[in-house]
């Protein structure tokens, strides 16, 4: 418990945390796995990455450029997801806490006293 957060806020916070865990970590893992797979291919599969695709452009060059595309894509996907899924919830938590006059420092101090007692 975050030092006596209002119940509705606590529920929103858990929901926000859950949404991020479900969406953001898998997205990060997928992007980084792709990057490490590319690194691995560049390091250990010379025949594959040396193969020509068009003209002098080989697989290695295509893979390098694809990392830029992946990064752009992740940024766009995450921005859209945040606007729809996490920003409204964060805003609701903020509004509720302001309305309740919640003081995080006082609440933390209280929680520590409870813990100690």
């Amino acid at each position: 418990m975050s030092g006596g957060l209002p119940e509705a806020v606590q529920a929103d916070l858990e929901e926000l945390s859950r949404r991020r865990t479900r969406f953001v970590w898998p997205l990060l893992a997928a992007a980084l796995l792709y990057y490490f797979a590319v690194l691995g291919a560049l390091a250990y599969l010379p025949d594959f990455v040396g193969a020509r695709v068009v003209g002098s452009i080989n697989v290695a060059y295509v893979l390098a450029v694809s990392m830029f595309v992946v990064t752009f894509a992740v940024a766009v996907i995450y921005a859209r997801w945040s606007r729809r899924s996490s920003d409204p919830l964060a805003a609701r938590i903020n509004e509720a806490l302001v309305a309740a006059g919640y003081d995080p420092e006082a609440a933390a101090a209280e929680a520590e006293r409870e813990d100690a007692g």
Partner: protein, 529 residues
């Protein structure tokens, strides 16, 4: 020195115009940089594109412009490893670090690390690692000054180094983060313009055929298809992996970059500024790789290494060539512009690094370690200004000492330390409830010592290609420590946490941190509503 007499005069004029503009900005900023939040975080009032441009400016350092172009021109594809790492790195930053950092911290990356833990040991350790990272990075920029001046400016390199040291100190001492940011933005626009111009001219030369450019580079390199494949620079495969790992994970631990997220009003703006960075930087990095191949094709490795053995002069030489060669007016003009921009780049990045180090020293060491968290805003800013003078002096001395290292290699090293020492603590603090103070200190110490230690016994320092003990065989064949030191940093933090007792404070403060990091409630406010 290359270029004509008139070209060098032009370079000097361009450069002094930039200096005049930047001093004007500093004068304007001086009144706005009063007080802690203004001095360290520009009042937290920048917009997303302003901060994005400033971060991109910080990130597009001498390493990116001179270093990558140089590496690609000499080693072909292997130089692209840096470009890839520099862009992929932002995925980790935007997804899990930028927003929580903005919400939970105040001035430095250590704020997030120390939020739930015992402040003094954690701040002491993180300030040491952050200042070390900044110094590596500074060294890289200072080496870049040597490369640019010996080639392009009619002044003694040592004088140029001293000039840069004095100017950056003026920006930071008088204008704080406000001046540093606006100087960075002006420079970012200049650098992007130079890169776009050169890329257009280059593609024009090859009828806009990338395939033609690549085959031209491969042919001129004398190495054929191998020039377009990995392996010419990273003969040790593990080195390639190691560098890639360090670059992708290190950015989220770079003190001077992370500090910039405190200059915006809220987490949403922090996220949007990363999107600007990805757009600007991605484009820039794609262009520098083309310029590197262009330099290989049109200038040639022989002329590039003759001007600077590490390849740092490839970009400027390409500019001269694209303009029509050493005897043409357009060539001199273009070279003069690129040289001045490269110099401006170094100057602005050095200022950004210096204010980050000053914040670590004033905010972490002085306020939280020496004064035990008893905050006094005026004194903190005053200490930061004194620290700026000290960092300026150290930077100048370092620059006199080292001149023959490749700029991109040095930056790779800074990234490896950031990923090994800073990143584990940031991530554990934000996402692992059980984490405790011994864990944080262990991560930082082990990450830092392993990363720096490996480099000290690696071929980059010892042996034939190193800087000392030429006759000795290096103890380890890696030139970049990331593949060992990053897991070591993470593992040390985990082990030390699990073998020491739970901290009650860390657990209860974790909930407070989670609320603040996720929702932004209680985050530091912008000074302008």
């Amino acid at each position: 020195m290359i270029g004509s007499e008139s070209g060098r005069t032009l370079s000097t004029i361009f450069f002094f115009v930039f200096v005049a503009i930047s001093l004007g900005i500093t004068y304007w900023a001086a009144r706005r940089a009063q007080g802690g939040a203004a001095f360290f975080a520009a009042g937290r009032s920048l917009s997303a594109w302003q901060n994005g441009l400033a971060i991109a400016g910080d990130y597009m350092s001498a390493a990116a412009f001179l270093g990558i172009t140089g590496l690609v021109s000499l080693f072909g594809f292997d130089g692209l490893m840096y470009s890839m790492g520099f862009v992929v790195a932002w995925i980790l930053v935007v997804l899990v670090v930028a927003e929580p950092l903005r919400n939970a911290g105040k001035y430095t990356i250590s704020d997030v690390m120390a939020y739930r833990l015992r402040a003094r040991p954690v701040r002491l350790a993180s300030a040491v690692s952050s200042v070390t990272i900044v110094l590596f990075y500074l060294l890289a920029q200072m080496v870049g000054i040597g490369a640019v001046t010996t080639l392009l400016l009619p002044i003694d390199p040592n004088l140029a180094i001293a000039l840069v040291g004095v100017l950056m100190t003026i920006y930071v001492v008088f204008g704080g983060m406000v001046a540093t940011t606006y100087v960075q933005m002006v420079k970012a626009i200049l650098l992007m313009s130079a890169a776009v111009l050169l890329t257009l001219l280059l593609l024009l030369e090859f009828d806009f055929s990338i395939s033609g450019l690549l085959s031209g580079a491969a042919e001129a390199s004398g190495k054929g298809d191998a020039f377009l494949e990995p392996g010419l620079n990273f003969t040790n495969k593990l080195d390639l992996i190691s560098l890639g790992l360090g670059l992708a994970l290190g950015t989220a631990g770079l003190p001077h970059i992370m500090m910039r997220f405190y200059t915006v009003p809220d987490a949403r703006t922090a996220r949007r500024s990363v999107n600007w960075v990805i757009g600007i930087n991605g484009t820039f990095l794609l262009m520098t790789t083309l310029l590197g191949f262009g330099a290989a094709a049109l200038v040639g490795a022989k002329a590039i290494t003759a001007a600077n053995p590490a390849g740092n002069s490839a970009g400027p030489l390409l500019a001269l060539e694209l303009g029509g060669g050493p005897d043409s007016l357009a060539g001199s003009l273009l070279l003069a512009f690129v040289a001045a921009v490269a110099f401006a780049t170094i100057l602005a990045v050095v200022a950004g690094l210096t204010i980050a180090a000053a914040a670590n020293i004033a905010h972490d060491l002085y306020t939280h370690v020496i004064r035990r968290g008893d905050e006094d805003e005026d004194k903190e800013v005053r200490v930061a200004k004194v620290a700026t003078l000290a960092v300026g002096a150290v930077a100048i001395l370092l620059a006199f000492a080292a001149k023959s290292l490749n700029v991109a290699f040095l930056v790779g090293l800074a990234f490896a330390v950031a990923a090994s020492a800073n990143l584990p603590v940031v991530l554990y603090s934000l996402f692992w409830k059980r984490f405790n103070t011994p864990g944080a200190v262990a991560s930082i110490v082990v990450g830092l010592v392993t990363a720096v230690g490996i480099v000290l016994v690696s071929p980059a320092v010892i042996g034939e290609e190193g800087i000392m003990l030429k006759g000795v065989e290096p103890l380890i064949s890696l030139t970049n420590p990331g593949v060992v030191s990053i897991p070591a940093g993470f593992l040390a933090g985990w082990l030390a946490t699990m073998t020491t007792s739970r901290e009650r404070l860390s657990g209860s403060r974790f909930e407070a941190l989670r609320l603040r990091a996720l929702s932004g409630f209680g985050a530091e406010r912008s000074s302008e509503p």
